[in-house]
Each structure stands twice: as C-alpha cells, then as structure tokens.
C-alpha cells in the first residue's frame, strides 16, 4: 500500500507541475536539470515562482491538516472530530478577519500579522475547548460546543464583513475560498518551519496516541500523563491548523476525512503506522485536489476549499451512514 501510494504521489506531482496555462512536461524538466536549455525563461519563472511553491504548499497542507484531524479523533475518541468541526479553523479565520477586515493590513506586514492572528484565533478556540474538556467528559457535548463556537465566530465574521471596505472585503472573500497558489516564498518558509518539526514531534508520541484510544482512565493507568498530553495535542493542532489557515485560507474536510481514508486503505489503528499513512494519504489527496482545481485543459481555476469539500463530504456522509463503524474509531 505504501509503495503504490508513493508511486501515485509521484505521478500526481508530475501532473500537477505539468497542468496550467503553460505546459511544462517532465521530459523537459529532466533535460533542463541535465544541463540542456529546454525550458524557456518564461517557463522557468512560472515553475519557480508559481508551480513549485503551489506544489510545496499542497504537500504541506496535505501532510498537516489530516494529522490535526487524526489527533483530535483519537483524543476525543470520536470519528467526526476535526479542525473544522471543533471550530479551530473558524478561530483562525476570525484572527485572519481581524487583520484583513479590521486593520486592512497588506503586504509583508500582513504576512506575519495574518499568521500570528490566525494562530491566536485557533489557539483561542483550542484553549476554550481544552478548558471545557477538563470539566465536561461527554465527547458529544464537546463536539456540539465546538460547532457552536464555530457558528458564533462565523456570525461575528459576517458582521465584520458587512461593515468592511469593499477592497478589504474582496480580499477576505478570496482568502476564505482557500488558495494554494498565493503562498509566497517567505510564507512557505514560515509554513515549513512551523509544520515540519511539529509533524516529526507527533510521530514521536505515536505510542502515547495509541494509549489514548482506550480513553483517559486506561491511559492514566498505563502511565500516560493525560493533562500534559492534552495540552501538547491542543497546542500542536492549533499551530498546524492556524498556520495553514493563515496562508492558504480555510481548507475544508481534509482534516476530518483523510484519517478515515488512511484507516480504510491501511486497515490499521496503530498510530505508529496510521500517522505516516495519514500524512502520505493527505499529500495524495491535496495534490489531486490541486490538479482538479486547475481544471486541466481550461484557463479557469476553482477555489481549493470547494474541491476538498467535494472530496471530503462524501467520506463524512459515508461515515455517518455507517454509524456502527463511526461509533468506534
């Protein structure tokens, strides 16, 4: 399974680079790397400035968002948990809305302030949920509260939109559709710096995630420091989801759906396998979504958020209908 997924990913990556308004084939790229001048100046610029950063963003998002979802699903022991459902993405959107709509920030200042604001927004919702989860043991209640936080923040964002300037509104609306293509080189660096170490860290506590599958009482009696673990998972998730939402906008249903696709494909619940499997599956799904959003053969580009939602929603529907399975992740 791993080998075929890796092969699929490689094929998709090549296709992703190829499609777009200007065609850049693998053969040309290989020849160029070998020293011959097969790529034109224009093609090189497109490759370096647009295609490769977009691809890198797709890989980072595809690796990180599903890991958020998987950790939430394990911690809450609920298959419907994910950064979207729990309101973490809305928190990040709220932070971004304050920067874009409230302060009207643009340019380099915006890059950093957007990231920080999205982190803070995601972190705010996470701390709220953390606080709630210390007091309320019922997972369904926590999920419903997450949905309520999320709806509340969305309401506040729409009020802010209503009162904002036309130009700020337009850039916010475009941001909220999600885009992998608007990520600049320096933003990519920030994303990579935030995401890669956290993903490595998550792999490091895969064993503990296994212990959490049986619930908190069992986790504690098996020697897991549950409070500390919760804080680590909440912090990791808000930084991962916050970073992605800040630079790429909200990207729906990847966090919740991909872990289930990975479970289905690999048939494993052991996080030492499931985590890397989820990362790999997520990258495949995101690069595929990116290719679809380019609408190969046309000049048009679809918002990535819409594409991932259309891929993720059937998975979630399948989950809800197969409710017996959904009771146990």
């Amino acid at each position: 399974m791993i080998v075929s997924l890796v092969l699929l990913l490689v094929v998709l990556v090549v296709l992703d680079i190829r499609f777009g308004s200007v065609r850049i084939t693998l053969v040309d790229m290989v020849r160029h790397l070998a020293g011959s001048d097969t790529l034109s100046e224009q093609q090189l610029i497109i490759l370096k400035k647009f295609r490769l950063p977009r691809l890198a963003a797709a890989l980072l998002v595809g690796a990180a968002l599903p890991v958020c979802g998987l950790q939430m699903q394990t911690l809450f022991r609920n298959p419907l948990a994910g950064p979207y459902v729990l309101g973490i993405s809305s928190g990040a959107s709220f932070g971004a809305a304050i920067v874009v709509l409230g302060a009207g920030a643009t340019g380099l200042v915006a890059t950093w302030s957007l990231a920080v604001a999205a982190w803070l927004g995601a972190g705010m919702v996470m701390i709220l949920l953390l606080f709630v989860s210390f007091r309320i043991k019922d997972v369904m209640t926590i999920l419903i509260l997450g949905i309520m936080f999320s709806s509340g923040l969305t309401a506040i964002i729409s009020i802010m939109q209503y009162f904002s300037q036309a130009t700020a509104l337009k850039s916010f609306v475009i941001w909220s559709m999600g885009s992998l293509g608007n990520v600049t080189g320096s933003q990519l660096l920030i994303m990579a710096c935030a995401i890669l170490p956290l993903l490595a860290g998550t792999l490091g506590y895969a064993k503990v995630l296994n212990g959490l599958m049986l619930g908190e009482e069992y986790a504690v009696t098996m020697g897991i420091r549950i409070q500390r673990m919760r804080i680590i998972i909440f912090a990791t998730t808000s930084i991962l989801a916050g970073t992605i939402t800040a630079f790429c906008g909200p990207i729906g249903f990847i966090g919740i759906a991909v872990p289930h696709i990975a479970r289905f494909l690999f048939g494993k619940s052991d996080h030492r396998i499931l985590l890397p499997a989820t990362i790999l599956t997520g990258m495949v799904v995101l690069v595929l979504s990116d290719i679809v959003s380019q609408l190969p053969g046309t000049e048009r580009v679809l918002p990535i958020n819409a594409v991932t939602s259309l891929i993720g929603i059937p998975v979630v529907i399948w989950l809800v209908i197969m409710n017996r399975k959904a009771q146990s992740i």
């Binding site: 022991r77 490091g204 895969a206 064993k207 296994n210 212990g211 599958m213 049986l214 619930g215 009482e217 069992y218 504690v220 009696t221 098996m222 020697g223 897991i224 420091r225 619940s269 052991d270 030492r272 017996r324 399975k325 009771q327 146990s328 992740i329």
Partner: protein, 335 residues
Amino acid sequence: MPEDLSDHMITLKHLAIGYGKEQALLRDVNLSARPGEMVALIGRNGTGKSTLLKSIIGLIPILDGTCFLEGIPLETYDLRQRARIVSYVSSQVSHLPAISVRELVSLGRMPHTGWMGRHGEQDRQLVELALEEVQMKPLMDRKLDKLSDGERQRTMIARALVQDTPLMVLDEPTAFLDIPNKYELIRILTGFRETGKTIIYSTHDLETALMCADKLWVIHQGRVLEGAPEDLGISGVFDALFAESGIMFDAEDHRFKYGVTSKGTIRLSGEGDLALKWTGSALERLGFDTGSHSGEISIVVQSSETGNRWIVTGKGGEYSFENIYRMAQYLIRDD
C-alpha cells in the same frame, strides 16, 4: 501477629474518598490485602464501590488518609511506576476502538516499552500467554466490535494481565455477563492468584464472591468491613446489607431468597429426586413452607415412564397435574 505494611500488597489507612471534602462517600476506611489474595468488594449501588477502586489506583484524588501499595504511599510513585504496580479494568465497555484483540492486548505493555513502543520477544510472549490464559487466542485477529460481551471483557482482562502488575483492580467485571460467562471469568481471575497476583474486584454478586474470594470488603452504611466471607457471614452483615430490600440471605444455602410471608405448610412426598427438589423450590417461591408430616394440603409426586404427575390433596378435593406450572396456578388461586 504484628502487622508489617510491606507484607501487604495494599493497605488503606484512615482513607476518606469521594468527590470533594464535604461530600466524602466513605471516611476512615481501613483495609488491606495480601499478595495472592482475591478480594471481592461488595456493596449496593451508589455506596462508593467504583469511587473506592478509582481512589486506590490514583484515578481520583484521595481526600484524606493514605493508600499504601507494597508498603509505599501511592502518591510517592510516578505514573509510570504506578502503571507497573497496578493494572485496571474499567466497568465501562462501550466506546472501544475498532482494533483487533491482539492489538488491544498489546497496548498493556505500554509502561514497559520504550518511546516508540517497540515490542521485544518477551513482550510478544507475554501477549501470547495472556491470550491463551483468557482463551482468546483463536479470536486474536478479530476486531473488538465483533466480540460478545464475555469475549470483550476477557480481552480487557488480558490487556491488564500483560501489564504484568502485582495488583489488578477490576470494576464490576461480571456486570454485563450471562451466567456461564460470569463463572468463566471468575475462574480465570482465581487462576491469577497462583502467580501471587492480588485481585480486587467489585461486584453485586455475593454468591460467586462467597465461592471464590479469600476476603470480602463490604460497604454497609458508610463503613467498609473486611474479613473472610465466612467471618462476615457469622457477623450477620449480609442480612443487614439487604434488609431493606425484602431479600434475605440464606446463610445455609449461600443464596438469596425473597422474604415472602408464609402462606402455610404443604406436605410434600413422592418419587424422583429431581422432580421433588424442583417441586420444593417452586413451593418456596410461591411462599409455602414444606414439611413431610404436617400441613393441610399434601402433594405427592408420581414418576412414571410417560412423565411426572403431581397429585394435590386438600383444598376441597384431589387434583392431578401434569406439570408444576399448572399445579402452581391451582395453589395460588383465590378460593
């Protein structure tokens, strides 16, 4: 004989437990259990059985007093050390992950493995042994959601077993089980004693506890009494325990009986040991005393190759019945 704390697997001294100091469920609890002992914790619903078990393994903070494990206060251990001394089987059976029996049992090795949780030869052997011990080896690749209640409970016990702790605490392990599964589970638990493991389990089921436990901890009216089942039987605490409910504990038969007021005495005689025995218990259920000499009504059980017949004399006539059900309807009929 002088008491030495380190002789005991667990010692509770002046323990107060509950959720918050003002509402302590139990106060001044003094109990102990030795290595290799099986202790049954008995008490009615809501008396604090689960709370007591969760407190002595550190899931709920102790309000007052000390719980010593192997002579050392519970709070002295860090979580990982504690996980190597005491394992736990929760009363909650819902919401388990859809993993295989073997995967779940392997999780029990967690306190003994490194940060990646890699299993060595010894870990694998312990998992195999535990699966054999609870007779789940043939089902080890089955997913948890495909198991019966009994199989699932045995799997959870195997998980606690591979944790390889001298003390195992189980919260109502037999609660959801039918009678064969219940006895099977108790048999498995009693088997652990031979390895020197101390087993503490809570239950409503006084009958099996009397059969197998070395010691009972009985919660009654806010106090916890301990002793051999027979000591407590002599003390009369079992009668008191269920006095309000109209159920009586028959010390001679080791079983519960409904405390129905007698409707009179029936003379019972006849052939066939089995048929007589069941007729006797039917009469007891209906509220009649049985005697062999006195009584205004008499029942004679006749056994033949075609089956049994019950001849009832008295109550204004003689009637013959082909089964106990019919006979019972006649006996309790209002005249």
